[in-house]
Symmetry: C2
Subunit: 720 residues, 2 copies
């Protein structure tokens, strides 16, 4: 799945990233000069195209007048002049439950990333380039739309805006401290304090107060223990390794605040958040204790009813080593290590207790200010958690699971695509939504499937250029033989998470479409073939994937690759292949058995989008020489879906790249072919794409030598 530079799973970086978003640095030199306060104060919804006199109101626009008025009615009693509403939940999750979509509620904007700030007389929403068009359509004219990187010459940062608007008023900006990461909170507060203002804790979220009718229920799904045959490592072994890391860093306790980290640690899954098999939770690991404290909602009910025979042979009591009485007791295997389960809301007490009993507490960068604020500053050790790194390096069982799930996922995608292509070409009526829905049906039929890993990006023609487009009833568009079709989709399987993008044209693509498809493909192959030393970070590989496009003056405004979970979040840190990733300081180096997406693309506004995305395992590279026994790494693709030969301009590829394509297609054919042999349509679709490409007959390398051939051929004719 395509990601923007700012996206990340499982921690507060997302929020911070949003504020530092670099979208525009690729469009223009970053000017040192910021906007003046005067210029900032002059910003108004009235300059938006949608708010011009006579402009037609889009069907997507949401009327937020009453909501804003309700929200503002709480300002005075809380002693604030404004309120920030971020996109994330208390765990700084990238995807949030419907219940947690506070920012969507207050603003009407439904995109995944944005931050809203409401002052007494103005409201503004900051989002990035993926969402400019959508935000323009969905926001009503109460809202100023801040497009792109904050703190630049065109867009003020949130604090710059607040400072300009509340100048001379000793303004107080309020925020619910669970929804803001600690470093972001500290930075904003500092900037405000320097201007005689401040960021103030609002202990009861104001959106919770006003969003009383029509709000979805709090997520609260069953939690299932996972078989060792899926996780490859028991939580007891994980705990041992974590404690080792804690010892190394001389910390006494670890507060786990990211949902996927708790899920990974406990080897449990649920479905509290759409597409992410996690559950609302915290955990505390105390190095000296035999127990892990787990904080979940409705613990008693969940411990009792939590068995899925496909996932687990244990019920949750057994899985977590808890006695039937709910207490932590010596268990069947004599192992005293167990989970102690507490109510989700007891986390604050848990952290307070920790703060008074231990000396050093490990929290992630993404830890909310609510948790952070309970710990003495000198007791805080803030860094990527040991879980984040361990989770990103897949164990042999997870590696195998990811490969197998990608094979099943390819079967689903290929059988679906064969059908879709045929029917579209025969004139049957297919739309983005019907395609997404039928593809989901194909995925769900696969063994071990547990739904999708994200909302399918099924985009026809110009919708393909809206990078994070997801079709809706309001936008649904027919898939035809005259436009490109971009399909970015993935599934959740008990043994792995998948994410794949392919771009199609069911008719005759233009030369320009082929050129763009091929340039993005060149970058995709170049990065896949890249050989690199250990210790490199993702951003240091990114330019490789972009080079073919850059040489032609083209660019894509999103990251090139993200980590992926093992039946967990589709975007997983702690690392990213992107030069435009603002929190790269916290990135970990690429290492063996991490799995990354490789997904360059190209987007022509109003016309089409191209993206090629595979998931690849980082493996040791085989090299001719071995200088000082340095370890070299490269990528091994686990995605098993062919490209579209009729969209490739082979003259743009190097010999190496054509050879890679041939060898990849051969592997796809031999892996997937036998699995779909009973489906003649899919078999034909696959084999029509995986045939060997002969470089000469495809006019590759029209060099002196081919000219020579021609000359000699003429000679031959003469003599014949």
């Amino acid at each position: 799945m395509q990601i923007h530079g700012l996206l990340y799973s499982n921690n507060m970086w997302k929020v911070k990233m949003f504020f530092c978003i670099i979208y525009l640095t690729v469009l223009q030199k970053v000017a040192e000069c910021a906007l003046t306060k005067e210029q900032i104060r002059n910003m108004s919804p009235s300059t938006r195209p949608a708010c011009q006199p006579g402009a037609e109101t889009s069907a997507q626009q949401v009327d937020t007048t009453q909501r804003l008025s309700d929200l503002r009615s709480h300002f005075q009693s809380n002693g604030i002049n404004g309120y920030i509403i971020p996109s994330v939940d208390a765990h700084q999750s990238e995807y949030v439950s419907e219940y947690d979509k506070r920012r969507q509620f207050i603003s009407g904007f439904s995109g995944s990333q944005a931050i809203a700030v409401v002052l007494e007389d103005k409201a503004a929403l900051w989002t990035d380039g993926r969402y400019f068009l959508q935000a323009e359509e969905e926001l009503d004219c109460n809202w100023i739309l801040m497009k792109g990187r904050s703190g630049t010459e065109t867009v003020p940062s949130i604090t710059e805006w607040v400072i300009a608007e509340l100048e001379g008023q000793n303004g107080v900006l309020g925020a619910y401290p669970f929804l803001i990461g600690s470093d972001d909170w500290i930075k904003k507060d500092k900037e405000l304090v320097e201007n005689n203002m401040k960021l103030a804790r609002v202990e009861e979220d104001l959106i919770d107060k006003i969003w009383t009718t029509g709000r979805p229920v709090q997520p609260n799904t069953d939690i299932h223990g996972m078989k060792l045959s899926f996780t490859g490592k028991s939580w007891i072994d994980k705990l041992t390794d974590i404690k080792e890391e804690m010892k190394e860093k001389n910390v006494d306790a670890l507060v786990v605040t990211s949902l996927d980290e708790v899920a990974w640690l406990s080897n449990c899954r649920a479905s509290d958040v759409p597409y992410n098999p996690v559950f609302m939770s915290y955990a505390i690991v105390n190095r000296k204790a035999d127990t892990i404290r787990l904080y979940i909602r409705e613990k008693n009910a969940k411990l009792l009813k939590s068995r899925d025979p496909k996932m687990s042979t244990d019920d949750l009591f057994d899985h977590l080593n808890i006695g039937r009485d709910g207490n932590c007791t010596s268990r069947k295997d004599g192992n005293k290590i167990c989970f102690e389960v507490f109510d989700y809301n007891d986390i604050l007490d848990g952290v307070r207790e920790l703060n008074s009993t231990v000396n050093k507490i490990w929290i992630s960068y993404g830890c909310s200010y609510a948790i952070y604020g309970l710990i003495n500053k000198d007791k805080i050790y803030q860094a990527n958690t040991p879980i984040a790194l361990m989770k990103s390096v897949k164990n042999p069982v997870e590696q195998m699971g990811l490969k197998k799930s990608h094979i099943r996922d390819a079967v689903a995608l290929i059988t679906f695509m064969a059908k879709l292509e045929k029917q579209v070409q025969e004139g049957e009526f297919w739309t983005e939504m019907s395609a997404a829905s039928d593809l989901e049906r194909h995925r769900r039929k696969q063994d071990l499937n547990r739904g999708l890993s994200f909302e399918t990006i099924s985009s026809s023609g110009y919708h393909g250029a809206v990078i994070h487009y997801a079709p809706s009833n309001k936008t649904d568009k027919q898939i035809t033989t005259s436009e490109m079709y971009l399909l970015d989709s993935g599934g959740q399987y008990l043994d792995g998470t998948t994410d794949v993008t392919r771009t199609f044209h069911f008719g005759s693509p233009t030369d320009y479409e082929k050129e763009c498809y091929t340039l993005a493909l060149k970058g995709h192959i170049a990065l896949t073939q890249f050989v690199f030393t250990t210790g490199l970070k993702g951003r240091e590989l990114d330019a490789l994937a972009r080079q073919p496009l850059w040489k032609f003056g083209l660019q894509y405004l999103h990251g090139t690759g993200h980590g992926i979970g093992s039946y967990l979040n589709v975007h997983e840190g702690p690392g990213m292949i992107s030069v435009y990733h603002p929190t790269w300081k916290h990135d970990e180096a690429l290492s063996e058995n991490m799995f990354y997406s490789i997904e360059p693309g190209y987007y022509e506004d109003g016309k089409f989008g191209v993206r090629h995305e595979n998931i690849a395992q980082i493996v040791k590279a085989e090299t001719k020489y071995h200088f000082k026994d340095i370890e070299f790494l490269t990528f091994n693709t686990v995605t098993m879906v062919p490209y579209e030969p009729h969209l490739i301009d082979y003259s743009l590829l190097t010999k190496d790249q054509v050879e890679w394509l041939n060898s990849y297609h051969k592997k796809v054919q031999s892996t997937i072919g036998p699995l779909i042999k009973n489906d003649p349509l899919a078999s034909k679709w696959l084999s029509s794409r995986t045939g060997f490409v002969d470089m000469v007959s495809n006019g590759i390398h029209l060099t002196a030598s081919t000219v020579l051939i021609t000359v000699m051929a003429s000679f031959l004719h003469i003599y014949l």
Copy 2:
């Protein structure tokens, strides 16, 4: 000139970099586990090969017993248990005057980068991979040699070592605060304090106290104002721009501590430091004042005798707008802006005064702790200075000067090389030193030359693998037709600084030598041809240059490129093309009209070294498309010296790369050819290298198409 990841001109990064040196990260995964204190305490000189019983004492070894004893005799009176002696001077310069070679004096080790720490009973020296062999030879057996990156599983950091050695003693490590950068000081002190030790200021340097006989005199050369026709911008205009930047950042004053920054700001040059045309100095810019304070040695004498008609039409009084009475008065042009000149040692008073009169003071990261310590913490604004960035972006006059000086430099190098090759092939006796010396003579004959920009790296055979090798009487080696010869050299010219590396073989290279030469060349060309967006930092391009070597399992353990001064330091920040550059956080993005070296290489220990180094200007790239008007950049090579065709394995190059070579050689021939037409030997040497390479006849792309040619040729035969 080749640089290690840790090298930089003009600030304290060098010292810090040394401590964070990343040499080993490319050799091995960085293990989380450090050495135990026990292991650290067991380190001893006796494990060094040179200190084994019966080992022969190298001729280069320096007896430091008396020096160490002298130094230690001052410990008690200063209340310290140990003393740090870094390589740098008070300005954290990369190159220092002979007077400032304190670390060389105390340790005997003459390499450019190392840090020595002397305790009461032990002494240790930390250096990096370039210098392991040399340090092993030069250090006597008083010294423990710490090889490589400190704080790893094989090498303790300085503080780790001190903490292990002085455990339980409340140890005090002393240092002369002028020689340690502020952030490095703070970090070390913190680490020591956490272990009940501390870093203490020693107000009079102990090396100054004991190095009384045989010490070179303090550098104190004449200072010359530079003509506008060389600098392209008056210091008054520079001052205006600097004040603008200061206003932007809301700082009141700027303390300029780097020697090349003072030289750039004042448009003055001298020769206080070998190879670097700088003078011992500080400057203070006060945003509200019309004067710049300049701190130099023997100011009165220098103001009086400082005219070089080639450099300047003014004397220094006029150049700096100072009245003949030494006071700052209204000058001939009615401009009241002038320099006020103070004695070098008055800088401390100057900073103290500043601290008591202004609110915010800008200092560089490299500012010494001595200066830093005089400023209230809340008044410090620490960042790359505005001078560092302005200096790195060359103005049109500087751009032209760099190009012209590289042309003259190429004439010197080419005429010399033609002679050297012929005479070596004819059996005449040439050594590394005689070659370096004759090349210097050729350079000095060139118009506007002011000597060399660094000590020539003239290395034959296995010496080429010693990355920063400089020949000496002790190591001098004959240049023959049976070994590779690596020549890295550069000149200082009034209009520019040059730096070029070429690798030769005057006989028949082996296939392996050709393979290595070609792979490094592939990387060199790939980076030169690279097209990139604005905003990228050097580290994000580095992998491009390394990829061809990495694919073959080869690597070079140094950076790929550095900035270069305009008649200033050969290594200039603030940026570097290197993934192994530890202080990249302070790097500035690459931008138009910066000039960088591009210098990948390969080094086979005990056999040979290969390096290709050009200086290239960053220019706007011309592209087929122009996505969203993003600006693309690329490199334009200003070095004008051909490569060695007989060392190139053309089958390893792509068509693009051969085309680049052809076009580069054509440009070199047409630029340099006319300038050497009266030298038949040089003309022949040049033209034998710059001829057009026909890809077919060189067997490039032995693809299906060439096979086809062969098949068709056979047919032709049959039919003929």
